[in-house]
């Protein structure tokens, strides 16, 4: 029933919702006001003469999950891969702009150190042709993080963080290929976590997984954000809606809109975003 409060001559259609009584999503936003862990400013990126990213600026809040969505070829993966400079491994590419981690420009830093601090998980599980144990310990070993006797400790901790310990603890010396696809992807996450990254980048990490394995990865991400800042590229919009605190929509190399996930999926401000998430795009 309508309350007497609604009896007013004020035009409610002109109301600016930002001034309304705080809602649960506003409370969530307040929780997100910590200083950003990473910041990309005015990023332009070129594959040869093709400009793939156009003046993209985006901040990633500390200990939050940011989802990047958009149609194929929109630049979201290209953008993600710039965040730990993986794109530098490609020939004839060029980046303009600034990407900072804790305020320092990562484009000026030692790339090995940057990739230790900013881990990455790819679309298809890509374990090394080694045992489960050796997959985990590879990163700490090449980064000089192994101390006498702490290898087993790192392996257990990493597998626990990736929710894989119970399933893998009795076969640590078996080949990583013996694991299922979903387990292999969690192994890759455990491998990335083994070097204690501050930021974890995931490029469509569940696209090759079944719904049960996907649900495990999503549960994992929600728990992991307490320990690191997460950026995930996904084609699965329901996944973005389920796991992300904020969501950015890319189209034709541009960041069209970035806002709280709740707002993006309930009332996006840009028509392009609405058309894409409701399936009317194109």
């Amino acid at each position: 029933m309508s309350s007497p409060a609604s009896k007013t001559s004020v035009d409610p259609t002109t109301i600016d919702t930002k001034t309304m009584i705080p809602t649960s999503s506003d409370a969530a936003a307040k929780h997100q006001t910590a200083a950003p862990k990473m910041r990309a400013a005015n990023i332009n990126f070129y594959y040869g003469s093709f400009k793939a990213l156009h003046d993209v600026s985006l901040e990633f809040a500390t200990n939050r999950v940011t989802a990047l969505i958009g149609p194929s070829g929109c630049g979201k993966s290209t953008f993600l891969r710039n965040l730990n400079r993986i794109n530098e491994t490609l020939r004839d590419t060029r980046i303009e702009g600034e990407i900072t981690l804790d305020g320092e420009n990562i484009l000026d830093k030692d790339v090995t150190e940057i990739r230790r601090r900013i881990g990455m998980v790819f679309q298809r599980p890509n374990p090394f042709p080694k045992s489960i144990f050796d997959n985990i310990i590879y990163g700490p070993k090449i980064n000089g993080m192994l101390r006498h006797g702490n290898a087993a400790e790192i392996v257990e901790k990493s597998l626990r963080r990736a929710a894989l310990w119970e399933e893998a603890k009795d076969k640590l010396n078996e080949s990583a290929y013996a694991l299922s696809g979903g387990q292999q992807q969690r192994l890759c996450i455990a491998r990335a976590l083994a070097v204690d990254p501050e930021v974890l980048l995931l490029d469509e990490p569940c696209s090759a997984l079944d719904p049960i394995a996907t649900a495990k990865i999503e549960d994992l991400l929600v728990g992991l954000k307490e320990q690191c800042t997460i950026v995930i590229v996904t084609h699965n919009m329901q996944q973005a809606a389920r796991v992300a605190d904020t969501t950015g929509f890319f189209l034709l190399g541009k960041l069209i809109e970035h806002d709280k996930t709740d707002i993006i999926f309930k009332n996006p401000s840009r028509r392009e975003t609405e058309d894409y998430i409701t399936g009317r795009f194109g």
């Binding site: 029933m1 309508s2 309350s3 409060a5 609604s6 009896k7 007013t8 001559s9 004020v10 035009d11 409610p12 259609t13 002109t14 109301i15 600016d16 919702t17 930002k18 001034t19 309304m20 009584i21 809602t23 919009m237 329901q238 809606a241 999926f265 309930k266 009332n267 996006p268 975003t273 609405e274 998430i277 409701t278 399936g279």
Partner: protein
Amino acid sequence: MRPFEQDINALNEALQEMGALVAQSVHRSVLSLVEKNEDYAHQVLRDEARINQFEIQIDDLATSIIAREQPVAGDMRFVVVAIKINTDLERMGDLAASIVERSLASLRQPQLNVEVNFTDMANLVESMVLTSLDAFVKRDAVLARGILTSDDGIDKLRNQINCQMIELMKKDPSTVERALDYILIARRLERVADHATNIAEDIIFMVKGIDVRHRDRAELAAASQS
């Protein structure tokens, strides 16, 4: 047209059809009262079953869309609002039936010796119902907003009838049963207007994504000035 769009269209059409039937029932309930017409009253009672069927059909359609399509943004707001409007319309149908039951009861009793003005209240209620349905069809938040301001007038007219009946009962206790019928009819008309107001609030949410429920005058004024 994609299956999703077909489902959304089907939901929209079912709501409009149900809305038209409910508006007709409200209109006939008022006529049965004002014109003392029993035929209209019986038609309202017959149509209530159809309205109830619409309620079930619309809920089923909406839940299917949610389960299969997981709508978001404007589509999500439409489906959520469709479920709420469905409930409001069904309650309006119940209230129309309840009005004619009272109206039929009053027709079987001696008339009161006073003129009870239901016409103004009934006209305003009908106007609110029709405007809310029009706003829904046109997706017009400004039209919906006009309904929110009409509610004041309904309260005033209902209070007039209440006061008139209370005075009558004080003067002549033999009128209590008939006067109570009229008070209850006025109460039901007011409730129909409340549901029309709910629909208007839902339409504003559907169109603008703004929740205007339970806001007092000061809050709305502050919000609209920023």
